[in-house]
Amino acid sequence: MSRLEIKGLHVSVITEEGSKEILRGVDLVINSGETHAIMGPNGSGKSTLAYSFAGHPKYTITAGTVTLDGADVLDMTVDERAKAGLFLAMQYPVEVPGVSVSNFLRTAVTAIRGEAPKVRTWVGEVKEAMTQLSMDPAFSERNVNEGFSGGEKKRHEILQMELLKPKIAILDETDSGLDVDALRIVSEGVNRVKANQDLGIMLITHYTRILRYIKPDFVHVFAGGRIVEEGGPELATKLEENGYAEYATA
């Protein structure tokens, strides 16, 4: 059992005009096995929340705490957070020229597991994970995210999640840019990891269609840098019909 606890989180970014507050007091608890959907208008701060957990240097935490099983996440370096069991599937995965997917995956898995994977089983492990996500094994030899299509980048994020086996995963619009089949394939990947290791999920999305595959236990409405409403899966349907107009002044 793992537990990610966010309390009173305030986050700012440095802009040319000075510091700008984006998150204004976020409270959220995610336990192993739970799926929390986060929905909210563009620019409301969802990615900021995701990046803040992962420790992106662009964001400054001005108040609040984030703990994973009691350990202070905000005090950890970016790689320590990953080793502690946090995983962020990014909305815009980064290209790393000259670094092959296979080298990247092996290096990451070695860092997270604390030892190099056995050569004999490793190749098979990667191949199987790729096949399950309908990724051509030729991707192994390509450079990380370089020239990948939008959907291929998202599959590659989930591939990493399958291999790194986190405790808590934040999926930032993993469904955006996926075709109908890819959405199902990627969702199945997420559900596999969830079933295998009781993953806790924070799923940021604009659409309910992914929620048909990955069933949320909770839906949170995010607006103006805060969670403004919480409910069950029925809340997602309501949002899809009515939009966020009623939260506009929140």
Partner: protein, 362 residues
């Protein structure tokens, strides 16, 4: 040097265009006629395969094959009484690289004149390895007979006290291919002039370079490609990284397409990665085209800082900062290093860079 030439010799001051980036006071007198240059042959072969011969010749029997205005190279021509001649027989297919090594230098200035003659349709790889201390002015002329295919690799893995000024001039015959790798990862001041001229159609040159400068190092590469004959091709790709506030690099890429060079195909590229705020990389691509009848001509030059987004992405997958940095730098150089195809050198160069990266300041 005779008195006669002494009077004609113009000591560069550093204000001249070709010298304006070079810290003249760090040349250890290589440009100064008052400083005598030791005259000997310092390169040693590792192994000479059959089909290749290495001889020491009297310099005046082998006059230079090309023109130069570089004052230090003019001094080399005038001071060297011997020439190291490497000959590759016509039609020879030499599969293993021919290594020439220079290790026993000290900090007294000296000269070196080398010539490589590649026979008709010959294939070979030649590697010159420079390490340790040294203050040396050098000219290497590489003469590629028609249909020959030569890979020419020079490694500057000098100590941080060494000074090395060199011209590598390739004369490329009809249907001959010249590929060069200039790898500069050590030295106090290294100034290399990789220059190319073509003798016939179907000739091609691929000039690759990799440099990594740290505090106190000045690495300068001045590429010059002269397209005078029709139907020749050139590709230039130099990549450099700078680590340390007083690291300096200069890259000049002169490509001239003369009116007689119809059907030329050329592209040159230089990318620099600044790992420290004070580091400075000058990059000056210069493409001059006198005929409209070409296949293609282009150039690109970028100088940028380390990409923190790449670092964040790798670290968010559990990879520690230092290792992530190394991965990104290795990735940056990969397109050059992986083409080299001489594994022990690839490994050695990347390990040296890895080691010096541990001292990254941002």
């Amino acid at each position: 040097m005779s008195l006669d030439t002494l009077t004609n010799y113009m000591t560069p001051t550093g204000r001249e265009e070709p010298w304006r980036f070079t810290p003249m006071n760090r040349l250890a007198g290589l440009h100064d006629p008052a400083v005598e240059l030791r005259d000997r042959v310092s390169l040693e072969p590792l192994d000479i395969p059959s089909g290749v011969s290495l001889t020491i010749e009297a310099s005046d029997i082998f006059p230079p094959l090309s023109d130069t205005e570089d004052q230090i190279i003019i001094r080399v021509r005038e001071s060297a009484s011997k020439l190291l001649l490497l000959t590759i027989d016509a039609n020879a297919e030499i599969n293993e690289p021919v290594f020439l090594k220079r290790e026993v230098l000290d900090l007294s200035p000296e000269v070196s004149r080398v010539r490589i003659d590649a026979g008709v349709n010959s294939h070979a790889t030649i590697v010159i390895e420079n390490s340790g201390d040294g203050v040396i002015a050098e000219e290497v002329e590489i003469n590629l007979a028609s249909g020959s295919n030569i890979k020419f690799v020079t490694l500057q893995e000098w100590s941080s006290r060494a000074v090395h000024v060199a011209r590598h001039h390739a004369i490329i015959g009809k249907d001959a291919s010249f590929t060069s790798y200039v790898i500069t990862v050590g030295g106090s001041l290294v100034r290399i002039l990789p220059t190319v001229e073509y003798k016939g159609p179907g000739s091609s040159a691929e000039l690759f370079g990799l440099y990594f400068a740290t505090d106190g190092q000045h690495f300068e590469h001045r590429v010059h490609v002269d397209h005078k004959v029709p139907g020749a091709k050139s590709r230039v790709n130099y990549k450099g990284a700078l680590n340390g506030d007083s690291a300096r690099t200069v890259w000049i890429g002169d490509v001239f397409i003369k009116a007689t060079a119809q059907g030329t195909d050329t592209y040159e590229l230089n990318r620099n990665l600044l790992l420290s705020h004070g580091a400075r990389a000058d990059s000056v691509p210069n493409l001059e085209i006198e005929t409209g009848d070409i296949v293609g001509a282009g150039h690109a030059s970028t100088t940028g800082r380390f990409d923190d987004e790449q670092l964040f992405y790798l670290m968010s997958r559990g990879i520690p900062a230092e290792q992530a940095r190394r991965l990104v730098i290795r990735g940056f150089f990969a397109e050059i290093v992986s083409k080299l195809d001489i594994e022990p050198i690839e490994v050695r160069v990347m390990e040296r860079i890895d080691g010096e990266l541990s001292e990254v300041k941002s």
